[in-house]
Symmetry: C2
Subunit: 533 residues, 2 copies
Amino acid sequence: MSTSLLLTNGRIYTMNPAQPEASAVAIRDGRILAVGNDDEIAALADGLSERIDLQGRCVTPGLVDAHVHFQHFALSLGNVDLDGAPTRRVALDRIAAFAAEQRGTGWLSGRGWSQGAWPDHAFPTAADLDAIVPDRPVYLAHKSGHAAWVNSLALRMARVDETTADPPGGQIQRDAAGRPTGILLEDAMTLVAAHIPRPTTDELAEAMRRAQRYCWSVGLTGLHDFDGRDCFRALQVLREAGELGLRVVKNVPVYRLEYALGVGLRSGFGDDWLRIGGVKIFADGALGSRTAAMLAPYEGEPDNRGIVVTDKEEMVEKARQASAGGLGMTIHAIGDRANHDVLDMYELLRREERERGPARLRHRIEHVQVIHPDDMHRLAELGIIASMQPIHATSDMDMADRNWGERARYSYAWRTMWDSGALVVFGSDAPVERIDPLPGIHAAVTRRRADGRPGPDGWFPEQRLTMAETIFGFTTAAALTAGQEKHQGTIAPTKLADLTIFERDLFVVPPDELLDVGIAGTIVDGVFRHRAF
Amino acid sequence: MSTSLLLTNGRIYTMNPAQPEASAVAIRDGRILAVGNDDEIAALADGLSERIDLQGRCVTPGLVDAHVHFQHFALSLGNVDLDGAPTRRVALDRIAAFAAEQRGTGWLSGRGWSQGAWPDHAFPTAADLDAIVPDRPVYLAHKSGHAAWVNSLALRMARVDETTADPPGGQIQRDAAGRPTGILLEDAMTLVAAHIPRPTTDELAEAMRRAQRYCWSVGLTGLHDFDGRDCFRALQVLREAGELGLRVVKNVPVYRLEYALGVGLRSGFGDDWLRIGGVKIFADGALGSRTAAMLAPYEGEPDNRGIVVTDKEEMVEKARQASAGGLGMTIHAIGDRANHDVLDMYELLRREERERGPARLRHRIEHVQVIHPDDMHRLAELGIIASMQPIHATSDMDMADRNWGERARYSYAWRTMWDSGALVVFGSDAPVERIDPLPGIHAAVTRRRADGRPGPDGWFPEQRLTMAETIFGFTTAAALTAGQEKHQGTIAPTKLADLTIFERDLFVVPPDELLDVGIAGTIVDGVFRHRAF
């Protein structure tokens, strides 16, 4: 009960307006006991206290990623990443190194190769793989997702040989003698992919143990997940075993809504480790594929306004059901048309909620990627949370300029959102982007890429946030979004002891150097989960 | 954080084998900080401590009722109880007193009147009710459930008048002029009943606030609920508001199983206030209606072996689905045939679970009311929990003798269960019986009714338990059943501070006087919820 931790000699940014800065914090039984100066905190020491000198390091409330696909992220860590491999040789070296490190007899999976980027443009073969991984099946997806490179064992297990006919919509690449080469195109990919076992709940839980360690190493203490039921089950398995060491908000895909309502589950049910969030629904497509729903056509494509995945009427129906059952909504909206429709829907929903009683549910829009100027004020007015991913702005800026032209100035507009009074919460969308929050923090305050592009001021620099606003988005805002502000989101007495410790002071380091600031420690529930000092 | 409570000068039965008795306990932040003698505990006092002299009172871990229909119980507290009213006048006086106390404009409901027990055997009338409750609709069910007595406003609201035809299977009692008298028979009852609004979630939550206070007043700190989705929702509403002050395990009706599985809910999800239990399924009927499924016919009815509500195959199917999804089972089985079938099912299920990995789920049988001698050892062998209700034994002993004859000696056989090594957990089945645990404790140790029947030794006295065993059934066993033994069920450091304080020492009071032992205090989460000293 009385184990305690005293952190002294730090630069502690509490995010607590009543006491914004401190040098020391005392932790007991997983909670913040006191915040103050070194002398005050040292006076709380008893025989069981562990005293830690932060040596001037910077501390914030534990960073939370408010938009992660945690199952996919966890599984991706068990796959070999061939993205950017400049030659077949480099790809094979990566595979060999990966196989040597992650031993086993099961499937070795990966993705990201692209023969088009290799000097000879030639497809690789099963024989290439057999030479380095003969004894376990290998399945490697092309960067485009439209081809797979497999080894001979994988072909044998799938019974794909010279007698196998091409499936409809697919092609088995063959040599002169008609034997499969190891490349499967389009729908032929599933001939082998169907043999890769879907991970069991226990296997997922195991992958999440590793993913959790990775999250700690980059300073994360919590996340809001957007994967499905298998993910929820595996998270519960970890929690039951007392092994879950991240604060997880589990959102529910809309195709599970009837089940959530059927059993009576409400947003917020659960505990400090794992709790139910909102219902995830897609309003539209994405930027890269030019399927985000736009009010006006895409640049250079006058007939394309993107795709409405869920129309307003269906959204209203689902949101009404969810809201009446005590479930919040969390709606993917990229294009300005999608955001407009979602706001119309929320306007109606809020009116109906007010008629039933005081509005309580914390609804959100995921991404808010580009929004019409006339709609910008509406999130704040309706009390809708803007869940944004700073790293998307810098990763996708060229695409945004190309696809949206002038409208790009209204994209990734977190400063506008913030100034309108909307709650802005930050995340990564991992594994689409890296889960590491520091690149996101860097993007939010600089609007520049790691390489400095597009120049000193960044891309639409008027949208930059201050460091304090950005840290708020990764900490306090996440707690508010989850209805957990009583227990999380600031460093203050009685709050859960979740802290991130940085090697350098985020508030004084030159913005260009933010990407190199190391994570010195990650404390969740009063326990060091990662410590590098 | 540091609010604390020091209880001294008590007789504290901790149920912790390492330290079975103590005189004092210290509580901080909702948890037990220390257990010991008065001097040891007094030494822990600081400026914020509240010190309470127990004046020799008896303390046990907080009592938990492991079988309650909490929604029904809560709503029953808002209804007038006419059971046993010896005359129409007494019934009307009760109604008037109830209406005076529970003011409002909504429906006044109740049950239990029986004109057959009144001197004149005459049906009461709407006019009788109009004289005392003219301004709100009244609906009072007959003790048999086959008739309703309503007032004129209720008839008007339901538009039942002299022009209304009798519905199929029902009769509107009428006077000489053809006007409804206020008595509705059989299916005519629904003409009015259909107008009584189903309580909203907020109304249920409000009823539960009152029910919770009642639970505290009789010494309960927790319960395992067997009602449905509305109940679960209302419990979540209380929890969200921080008002839930009982530790609740919420079981899921089998007709909600597909939803629970569909959303991925597992047993144990939730927090210390509200967590998911198992899936409730009915194997058979009941004793009183002679529908409990028996291996041999009912006494005097050679063709009746009761009713199998869910056959073995269907039970296997549901239990398999539940178990694979991480949900335990909790199966209603009254008759010896039902218990036999359920044990066969569990034998198969346990085998399959072992093949998947270490068995973890805590499956239970509800009631285990009569069991064949050959099956008695099987619960222990299979690790199945016997969830029993001591008060049923003494309430139903005459019926058991009459319906089961010689087999009654194998009924309510908690001593046999205990000696076999099965985990025996106790509850009340409220509102079928009173929720108060003391009558249950009395029945478990005496096998006698309050009036002393059937005599000094009690009914099948070989089945009596000791007080320690009985308290175990209401405390530690409930925690074990819910997988909460790490945090609940004993008075020991770090456990949740849930305690029941009795006016007299249960372990020395003559058994006949147990029913008169007052509840001096109920502490949940370190806070006095009821205090009468």
